[in-house]
Symmetry: C2
Subunit: 210 residues, 2 copies
DNA sequence: AAAAGTATGTAACTTATGTTACTGTTTTTA
DNA sequence: TAAAAACAGTAACATAAGTTACATACTTTT
């Protein structure tokens, strides 16, 4: 296990910290579509991503969903961090976007290492910064972009984390993620196809203009 | 100066830290409408709010603005934190909403105190958490609410930080903050007035249903 | 292979929001 | 004090997005 850990986090953490992570962390592996965290959950451990990608969703009180962003290898979930800290409930839902490998760290360690390892402290602060930047980007997307551009951005982001220009997704799934209706998605996807940016198939979409 | 510091941060920080803040921080006082931080600025010091309120804005590449949230006494600006850390440019603009008193801390201290004072570390992490929560709330607002409800929420938030049920603002200013047009604001404000939730005057609005 | 379920396409319509244009009023400036 | 600027109200129209309804094609189940 130390091998994958070192590969992904060796450039960030000194060996002594890697050893600690190795000894107290639990390695987990899960398929696509696995729900790691739900809204309202209390968090008792934080994930360090080794491979794969996780999508982070927000939900309003009526059950309407909205995709916030994806996180990838080398990242951790900053909402988890702050939930651990304050014994607060999760504000978000986390679902694996692809098959994923990660290491779960007990929450006590998070705060213990903050005092002990400067590199860990930097990692945590950097994670917060990255997640805030991504939230800001999510705000830009919904506040400033039209639906057609949001769809195209969604497809590109999804292609990115899946390392594939062909995305396996239905129009209905996109509608859920972007918090709109299936008919709207179908209409605008067709328009994107006519513009030559994508190609539509049953259950999949190919991005031409990546 | 230590008096106001102790009043506002005494419950958070031990005396030794308060003394340090007192000796390296600079006390500043500014009127309403003062721009503290602009997008693209490099930050060399972080603010601890003593009194007043600051509004945090986002801007897209076309210059369109959007209000994200207000911060108040006892808060600090988490974007500032992360900008300091990584020598990154500010992603947001900060403008005083009311006359404001604050203490500016040189950035080196921020990281020095992280290792030295557990209470400071908690404060920083708590600030990150609060700011993320507020960004999520901002996302909820633009993603899930209709414009009329957004306007009403805006008025209530503004009344809150100004400690006044009468808000001094023009329709045009609301339109800037919510990233829409003046005509739309006028129309929906009128509708809120007919519903009995607010009362309209020239340059001001009174909230009835607080 | 028939039936049921799932995915997509599309037309017709509704609603929310954005735009243009013009009004009158109040406030500020010359 | 006359002119200009700022503020607000409103009508008429344009556009983006959401809704309803239905058709068709492919896939899975029976």
């Amino acid at each position: 296990m130390i091998k994958e850990l070192k590969e992904n986090y060796g450039y960030l953490f000194e060996d002594s910290l890697l050893m600690e992570i190795n000894s107290v962390g639990t390695f987990k592996e899960m398929p696509e579509g696995f729900q790691l965290i739900d809204i309202g959950d209390y968090i008792k451990s934080m994930p360090l991503l080794i491979s794969g990608a996780i999508k982070i969703m927000r939900e309003d009180n009526k059950g309407d969903e909205l995709l916030l962003y994806f996180i990838e290898r080398g990242d951790t979930c900053a909402m988890t961090l702050s939930c651990c800290m304050g014994q607060k409930k999760s504000e978000i839902r986390a679902i694996t976007e692809t098959p994923t490998k990660l290491i779960m760290i007990p929450v006590e360690k998070m705060s213990e290492w903050m005092g002990k390892y400067k590199s860990w402290q930097n990692f945590i602060l950097q994670s917060y910064h990255d997640r805030m930047t991504e939230l800001l980007e999510a705000i830009d997307t919904i506040a400033f972009l039209k639906m057609e551009d949001r769809i195209f951005k969604y497809l590109r982001d999804k292609a990115m984390v899946n390392h594939n220009e062909v995305i396996l997704v239905t129009h209905q799934q996109i509608a859920f993620d972007l918090h709109t209706s299936r008919v709207v998605i179908s209409r605008l996807l067709k328009s994107l196809e006519i513009e030559g940016k994508i190609q539509l198939f049953r259950n999949s979409i190919k991005i031409l203009d990546l």
